[in-house]
Subunit: 253 residues, 2 copies
């Protein structure tokens, strides 16, 4: 069994604990959490340590903390020349203290505490400083997922920006859709199948070929009617800017 240690108790750390608990080739040796009670629902109490000095070397140490704590946490580790990775989409591998061998183990998914996840389709984006370490990360990632990629720090930066557009901003547009519905006594449920189909479509079509709606049709009557309908300045502004962007960058049907 590959022995791993997870440092952190947030959303991503908790999902990793769940994912590895089901793995047949990876064993969680220790988990670090400032407060033991954060993780008691997920793992045996004796595996949880609350003091950095209690951490022991393992085959792999995964630091899953907020980006601005990565450097400090990696300094606090009480060992050298071990494999230590972080799970951040935005942070360079360089943030990790060089007293250990460094890497990145970035699961590209939107993790919510209250939603179960099928880890087998979560893309894991891996980076390491040498081939042997990369192979180990690959083995660990493949024990939970079928989608494992080698992604450099520079590529990962792009991927994270792309993910903000395609996931975070998209979810905010769902929220606006819900607000417009509910302000007008339309149940949001009416919109849900459309949202689902919009996401499903790009499994078989490129987004540029899947674009529909008044913007890409240059249907200015509908666009003006929608702008007149929207009272909220923020929604109106978002509507205008995204309509212009579709018209300048989309493919005319």
């Amino acid at each position: 069994m590959i022995q791993i240690t997870i440092i952190g108790s947030g959303n991503v750390a908790q999902h990793l604990i769940k994912a590895f608990s089901a793995s047949k080739i990876v064993e969680i040796k220790q988990v670090f959490s400032r407060k033991k009670e954060n993780l008691l629902h997920l793992i045996d109490s004796e595996k949880i340590v609350t003091d950095f000095a209690a951490l022991e070397p393992a085959d792999l140490h995964i630091i899953s903390v907020s980006d601005n704590a990565i450097t400090e946490v990696s300094e606090q580790l009480p060992f050298n020349n071990q494999l230590v990775v972080h799970t951040s989409g935005t942070s360079s591998i360089e943030l990790l203290n060089p007293k250990n061998r460094r890497g990145v183990f970035y699961p590209l998914q939107t993790f919510s505490k209250n939603k179960a996840l099928d880890y087998s389709v979560v893309p894991f984006c891996l980076e390491a400083e040498n081939t042997a370490d990369f192979k180990l990360l690959e083995t660990v990632a493949k024990s939970v997922s079928t989608a494992v990629y080698s992604i450099s720090s520079e590529q990962r930066k792009a991927l994270h920006v792309a993910a903000v557009f395609a996931s975070n901003f998209t979810n905010h547009l769902y929220q606006i859709g819900q607000e417009v519905c509910e302000e007008n006594q339309v149940p949001f449920a009416v919109l849900r199948p459309l949202i689902q189909e919009t996401a499903d479509k790009i499994n078989t079509l490129d987004p540029i070929d899947a674009q529909t709606g008044p913007a890409i049709r240059h249907d200015s009557n509908t666009i003006n009617a929608h702008l007149a309908f929207l009272q909220d300045e923020n929604k109106k502004n978002i509507y205008k800017i995204l309509t212009q962007s579709i018209q300048h960058n989309g493919k005319k049907l």
Copy 2:
């Protein structure tokens, strides 16, 4: 069997023909298309008429043409006091010529020519001028879908605006995500599971509770790094505006 006639040969008309061809209680009596060859792959040649004068009264006549042609087409129908509906999300019931009984039969879905669709989950938004006509529309819609709603012209206007945000604009954000990936040699495939999960999440969570990412965390380091990374002014502008909107209207985690 309920006899219906479909007027139009575009995307929505073609999907309706497909959907009703499988119905056990609805029969397509006639279809109007200016060019017969547009529909020969979907329906028997003798049911296609190319001249308005050849249209006969049926139980229901569905006009599925571009919004700005609805009024003219409804005038051209060679009969009176029949049930005539349009399929538009944006057009008022009033656009239909009052010589016939009027209604709306609006399937809220994003219809692409090259993507098959499960009609049973397509929401149908119905409106009619009297109860008997509404009941007939309901029977017809329920013969293909389990999601049938009574939606007034005013509600439908809101719903269409909401759909533009939640579907058309969302798809454009997928396109931007793909561009950012491919400009940086990252396969778009890495992003697809995230897009899927983002849509899946709102089946169990409200969007406001599902929001993740640097904007809602008020993580200004990451936001500034992303803005510095984006060279394209349009993408930068969209990033700024949606980040501000999330920060002003989201729920702080």
